[in-house]
């Protein structure tokens, strides 16, 4: 009868130690990946985040005309003159807003379905209208839709135009900050 010889104690100890080390290393790597993925969205270069946000804004609103008003976390934009009039209409408005709870920068617009459903919703505004308050009214009416421009930011400040300088967005992460000009190069202001 053949007697089966098992592993020696030393072999088992060495193998267990190796597996333990490799297992710990693997866990550490996986943990690092998981943390890295989240961290990259928070600790990435704010200048890149800002540039990407503007790229997305250009894609969503390729005919952006000008900035109509700002406050700390909100900028009102004239996205286009799709209702040909050289004046601002509700359907042409958009707002860039920083959601501090989620860390997201959003582009908010009027829901086109709401505009199609209620033909009296469309409104022509004078150029001195309070377009920031218009957004609050639209929010209360439940006719806003939003798209994410940037996420994972610790703070975004909207810096009003001064002395010919354009409106700027200051993107802040945990380790750095960067400013990006929001206004188009050649803004077209409403005529009335």
């Amino acid at each position: 009868m053949t007697r089966r010889r098992g592993f020696t104690l030393l072999e088992v100890v060495v193998a267990s130690a190796l597996l333990g080390v490799v297992g710990l290393a693997t866990l550490a790597f996986l943990s690092a990946f998981a943390q890295g993925a989240a961290a990259r969205s928070r600790i990435s270069d704010p200048a890149l985040e800002g540039t990407l946000a503007l790229e997305r804004l250009r894609a969503l609103a390729p005919q952006l005309r000008c900035t109509l008003g700002t406050r700390d976390d909100l900028a009102a934009l004239w996205l286009s003159d799709n209702v040909p009039s050289r004046s601002v209409h509700l359907s042409e408005l958009g707002w860039v807003r920083f959601d501090s709870e989620a860390g997201d920068v959003l582009l908010e617009r009027i829901d086109p379905v709401a505009l199609a459903t209620d033909r009296e919703l469309e409104t022509a505004f004078a150029r001195d209208e309070d377009f920031l308050a218009v957004r609050d009214d639209a929010l209360r009416a439940g006719i806003l839709t939003s798209a994410i421009l940037a996420e994972g930011l610790s703070g975004v400040a909207i810096i009003a135009a001064k002395g010919g300088a354009p409106v700027e967005l200051q993107f802040e992460t945990e380790s750095a900050s960067a400013r990006i000009a929001l206004s188009p190069v050649a803004p077209e202001e409403p005529l009335r």
Partner: protein
């Protein structure tokens, strides 16, 4: 007995350790590879910026090329390709906006699409605009189809009625204002309810043409369009006298016969009496060029009329279309000339519906389905036209002496011209900009206007939109007008066709004579900006 150790189990720990080390190595390499994400993103952004700049420059080049109309002759739509701007390769194409096909010499509005590729990062930019004919001073469109609503006496937009653009029209991207008003260019007789929606519309008023783009913008912001003279609205073309011609055509006694139309109509028909399409029946007009009815035509409830070839229906009595559908198939047109009253109740009239489930959509979102160019109704004389009960009419309504009422949630997708027009509460008009040939009253460079900015005197000498009057105008003014081809049964048909053919030939010769002027073409383009298609390694 001597025992031997089990060699097959020995060394397992080493293998396990090697496998673990391999996994760890892969993980390490992956981690190393992922650390330059930001670097890759920066590179992509730089390439995207380069591609975008190149695309923007290439659009300017393409517009310059289109300033020479010969560019589009024998064109496959590709303006240039594999063109290098710095490190970026660009390709530019031109599409006819009206057809969606590669732009040819007859394209009136085009879309330029430029694709720029820099190191695998692609950017596309588009621009749209109208192509002004180099021969524009010798061309004219006299049917006022550039106006969404044009009245010669009174125009009333009541309640929450709406006038706007048909957003499904391929030329809606031009974002041109919709024009409405009185032919006299005054506000007298014009009534617009404060609840009415006329966003994106301009009112026609007397005044000087805008001198430049700034003036035009100022006028637009004031919601007006200024014309230096009163518009001369031509009367609808009268059909030739009704007569039974030849034994081969269906004929009837001089009685109160009511003819029943059913099945397939495949030849010209003249009916002496009234005609009806029975309720819930179906007819197809396939090869019928003209149907001439001396009395009334009643298309009854639930009936379906399919028009599959270019057709003219002349109704010398009243036209009643009641809760039914008249669909004009691709490649076909339907011109109806009505000498009596016209009533359209709860019906659909327009192109063949691509969505069979679409019934009557008065919201402005109705499918384009060939647009408003397939169907025209000409009303002769001081008659009444009523479109009601949620009807949808996709086409042109031309009743320069008629009284038109659009009511009860009905919608017209196209345009309306009448003496008195009432757009009642709930009704809507969605203008189809493909109707605007840019050769009409709104274009100061068209053949309607003289070099001095006055109306061609020859135009004041004619009063009807028929081939004979237009030919008179063409001969007197050296301007080729656009024709409204209405086919009729009878002796005059061949004569009119000959006239049309001769005038078309004249137009061609004029175009050839003006070939030298091609370099003077003027384009106005509106940038649509960029569609970002770059990859982001975020």
């Amino acid at each position: 007995m001597r025992s031997f150790p089990n060699h097959s189990l020995r060394g397992s720990a080493v293998l396990l350790a090697l496998a673990a080390v391999a996994i760890a190595t892969l993980l390490g390499l992956s981690l190393a590879a992922s650390r330059d994400t930001n670097l890759a993103t920066s590179g992509n952004l730089a390439k995207a910026a380069a591609a975008r700049a190149a695309a923007s420059g290439a659009v300017e080049i393409a517009i310059e090329m289109l300033n020479d109309p010969s560019t589009l002759e024998d064109s496959t739509g590709v303006l240039f390709e594999s063109f290098q701007i710095g490190d970026t390769t660009v390709r530019a194409t031109a599409l006819d906006l009206a057809t969606g096909l590669p732009a040819g010499a007859d394209a009136r509005a085009v879309e330029i699409a430029v694709e720029a590729n820099c190191g695998g990062i692609a950017q596309t930019t588009r621009a749209v605009g109208r192509v002004t004919s180099p021969n524009i001073a010798h061309e004219a469109d006299l049917d006022c189809s550039e106006f969404a609503l044009l009245a010669t006496e009174t125009l009333s937009i009541e309640g929450d009625a709406l006038v706007g653009i048909w957003k499904r029209s391929p030329l809606a991207v031009l974002a041109e204002p919709v024009s409405f008003g009185l032919a006299s260019g005054t506000r007298t007789g014009l009534s617009i309810d404060s609840r009415a929606s006329t966003h994106g519309c301009v009112m026609l008023l007397n005044g000087a043409f805008a001198g430049d783009d700034d003036d035009a913008d100022d006028d637009l912001s004031e919601k007006v369009f200024l014309l230096p003279a009163e518009i001369q609205v031509l009367r609808a073309p009268l059909p030739p006298p009704h007569e039974i011609a030849g034994k081969s055509e269906r004929e009837a006694d001089d009685s109160d016969d009511v003819f029943q139309l059913e099945g397939i109509l495949a030849r010209d028909i003249t009916l002496h009496g009234d005609a009806r399409v029975p309720a819930r029946s179906s007819i197809a007009m396939r090869g019928t060029q003209a149907l001439d009815i001396s009395g009334n035509l009643h298309v009854e409830r639930g009936a379906s009329v399919r028009v599959e070839s270019p057709t003219t229906i002349i109704v010398r009595g009243n036209l009643v279309i009641d809760a039914c559908a008249i669909e004009v198939f691709p490649g076909a047109t339907l011109s109806m000339v009505v000498l009596g009253d016209t009533t359209v109740d709860a019906s659909y009239l327009g192109g063949e519906r691509s969505d069979a489930a679409e019934d009557r959509d008065a919201s402005g979102g109705a499918a384009y389905d060939g647009g408003a160019t397939r169907l025209s109704i000409f009303v002769c004389g001081d008659k009444r036209v009523a479109v009601s009960e949620g009807s949808v009419f996709k086409g042109e309504l031309y009743a320069p002496e008629g009284r038109i009422e659009i009511e009860s949630r009905s919608a017209v997708y196209g345009r309306i011209l009448g003496a008195e027009i009432r757009l009642k509460a709930g009704a809507a008009l969605f203008y189809d900009p493909t109707l605007d040939t840019a050769r009409g009253w709104k274009n100061a460079e068209s053949g309607i206007w003289t070099a001095g900015g006055t109306v061609q005197p020859a135009l004041r000498q004619i009063s009807t939109l028929d081939a004979e009057s237009l030919a008179t105008f063409a001969e007197a003014s050296d301007v080729t007008p656009e024709f409204v081809p209405i086919l009729t049964v009878g002796k005059e048909k061949s004569h009119r066709r000959d006239r049309l053919r001769a005038l078309a030939e004249r137009a061609r010769s004029l175009l050839a004579a003006q070939a030298q002027l091609r370099s003077n073409g003027v384009l106005r383009f509106y940038s649509l900006g960029f569609d970002t298609m770059q990859r982001e390694n975020d």
